[in-house]
Symmetry: D2
Subunit: 292 residues, 4 copies
């Protein structure tokens, strides 16, 4: 089938390739003319036969909003838009309403796979009405990994991004779990070969996982991670997961601890610990250290 | 080779079977005469040719100590004892010294595998001197899963149990990660099929793992876990992991949060929340609920 | 001076009384005619001499928004509105803009004091332009406690509610601190008189505080809090504090832990702990408990 | 009455002074001859009339153990020893048994007061048998603050140190509460005067406390704490509090978070965050930062 694909960055570019390999026609647009198949959105829409299907794969927030707005003008009733970017699930309902008012369908798709997706397939979590989701089925089939897993129609509009967001929240805490364990093992004297302990865990243990495999890869490159700084960004979904939990009064201690550990890792000096040092000095005469 | 195996419970019994399948001779002892091959430790020791190798697989603490004490009397210089139970790593050095004073070698082995071990093999994390560990190699080979993983000589005496303990600490936080995510997904209205979301994650995602596979199994049996109470025991290693981290000043927020969540799950009513309810009433006139 | 006061509930009613005691004229409006001085907002506005000052003390969200909207129509350029309710700081800027477009000033005031405020005074944290804040000074003086503390012009519009919100976040964690300590003391056998330990802390210790005094009061009424259920509500500001922290990438582990402990206290059974129980059963054959 | 006092450091020296001011005779010993009243423990014991009372005020652990051992030899049946240092409560029972075997009484006293104690008095939490505690009463009266608070006989041997330990655990979380709030306020633009917000909280708020007063003092010296490094030590009792909670399966999320925040503050670079940075790079191609 034909697909319009907007956004050909690290993710979008590889997805175009994987969809094409499956025999579909992809007309891609990107602001970067070196990778774009067309000169603009109008041309992209023009080149697709109706009813059209357009996949949006641009940064969440303003960029996605602006593309949705343009598509609302350019597309026709019966067309369908998929937002496969990292949009917050709360945006999905707005976008569905905006497009729905013009008779255009909307599907949200959380996409996982990163740099391994082109080769192994992308996991897809999809939200939307059954009729819109079904129109996309051949594309979902092309993108997803082989085998019975890697694709779900999770529920109504927003459910795709919500599920992907929770996936990422879980990811934060699993990464934090291995990281805490690794630091503790590296700290004790009796354990002389932490990397090999991690490697051994890849079979027969309760904690074997793909992230563990990656951890072994990374320790094979730099056994004690001496080349790296302990500095971790976060990309939005972890924050949204905690906010969603707060909205629903769900306690999320491990995921939130993982998010806060990242926040702290980015502070050259901790303001809150300054106050604690100052208080300890005030009541106990404990020594403080000067800032540099 | 010949192995004496003390403790033929859920774990030990299956291990005897797996070692025998690999062609070794196992003489097992258990207090339960229905499963025991011999009438007592003295008979077990007598039936082994020297230099003997005896694997202890009994509950950590007093039971293990008492077996170690008996073996110290019964065994001869050049024999080797393996503690494959869930002993705290701090006990290992004591046991190694006690046995070492009589010329008996000591190896500690953390064993993972649970009810799946007989079929898939047991992951083994081993600590001790090279010469003692090497004597056990054929048994380790028999127990471990096929393939390159599932066995590590992690370091000195204690390193095996320490590594297994950290494995379990990591396990706590990974389970907590999925559990938090599952509860959040179950809470929101838009996601209508949480079980299928979990199933879809089994391929192509960052969070695919064996524990995720088990979670899908369990949701297939009871989609919303309506038959279960939210009550989780902990088995010692999670606590020891946090204590080891405190000893070494390593922050362990996600693993500790996971441990505390289990503690809280076992309280019919939370004493600390009573005080908070009382304080809110005192300063703000907020309503309290009576205990039943 | 003259003040219009909208909302005469638990807080507003006492505040009217305290302002009147200071010699000011308060015209109060409440939907409940038994406590209201006027029949409606129009009458309230009519009875005030210009330039008018109107204090809004109604529930945050829709109720406050609706009063602000009405006042925008009824008031005149040069008048000033104070929002003394528990509005989220993000609403303040919207309200200031809405009123500002009509030449009406806006001040936000976080008010602390609860049931003790009438007698001891209310702590006030105020945000807004200097000229608007200064017009309110006599009212702030009437409401605040005697002495040098209890009032601050914290910054721009929103700073009052933001400061009050952070006050509440801190309050959550301080309460949690005492509550955790109390539960731990109640648990150990050697400490036979926990209430007297708390009482003794009221002088000479690092942790003496007003909340500690309240805790002693409450333990004097019910030494082991046997009459209460461990069930704690939260009132919005704790959640907003965590959300603000997430927006600014500030780690807030203790305050967030305190919020989550309240969430958990309200769950009859923990969904996330069900999954953990189920997983432990799957991989280790550990027993589960049935839901009742 | 007469008191032997061993250890005349920051705490002990001021305590000697305060007890003397109350009219008692204190014979102090310290390894530092400049402050010591006697040349050694034997001389100290000799100079006291029986039945003797000796207060030990030296660092917890080996130093305290060594003094207890010496006193067990030097003292006579009917004498009493008080351990007023920061001993772990688990040591108290051992010390009581060791001394009790020779007919010597033992009392453990948790002492709070820091650099303010000489002037304001020391809060005392005491454990032991009634008969031993009563012999000390005049000294406790001399040390404690004026008024009805500041002293408690908390329970059996160990209860004094246990209560003091929990006091310190609570202290950790209260300090963390203010510190988190302070950092958040300093981060947002609208709040232009955080120090004055803190100052205003000293009256009329729910969170007024002595630690808040100290925080204002410290902000008066250095408004944004620019001279300090965010580096906080911990002194043992926080760790023991968490360990005691783990022993008793009491969830302690806020206190533990406070302890971990201190651990993290002392790491120049976070090992666990290195692994997280590495994993993010592996699966998502996210950039990493090099260590310096």
């Amino acid at each position: 089938m034909q697909l319009g694909l907007i956004g050909l960055g690290k993710m979008g570019g590889n997805m175009r390739e994987r969809i094409r390999r499956a025999g579909h026609t992809v007309i891609g647009y990107d602001r970067n003319p070196d990778v774009s198949d067309v000169g603009g959105l109008a041309e992209l829409v023009e080149r697709l036969d109706g009813p059209r299907v357009v996949w949006v794969m641009v940064p969440a927030g303003a960029a996605t909003q602006s593309v949705i707005d343009e598509l609302a003008d350019l597309l026709s009733p019966g067309d369908t838009v998929v937002d496969g970017g990292n949009s917050r699930w709360t945006d999905d309902e707005k976008h569905a309403a905006e497009l729905g008012a013009k008779g255009i369908g909307f599907v949200d798709a959380g996409v996982s796979g990163g740099v391994w997706g082109l080769q192994n397939g992308y996991a897809l979590m999809v939200g939307g009405d059954k009729e819109h989701v079904e129109r996309l089925q051949p594309i979902f089939e092309a993108l997803k990994p082989e085998g019975p897993y890697g694709y779900v129609h999770a529920g109504k509009v927003g459910a795709g991004h919500f599920s992907k967001m929770v996936h990422n929240g879980i990811e934060y805490a699993i990464m934090q779990a291995y990281a805490e364990g690794w630091e503790l093992l590296e700290t004790v004297e009796s354990v002389t070969d932490v990397r090999e302990v991690f490697r051994s865990w890849q079979e027969g243990t309760v904690i074997r996982s793909w992230l563990l495999d990656l951890a072994v890869n990374t320790l094979d490159e730099d056994e004690h991670l001496e080349k790296l700084r302990g500095y971790a960004e976060d990309s939005g979904e972890g924050r949204w997961t905690v906010e969603a939990a707060i909205d629903h009064a769900v306690p999320l201690p491990a995921i939130t601890a993982s998010l806060f550990a990242r926040f702290a890792s980015r502070q050259a000096d901790s303001p809150q610990m300054k106050l604690i040092a100052a208080l300890r000095n005030q009541f106990g005469g404990h020594a403080v250290e000067s800032s540099k």
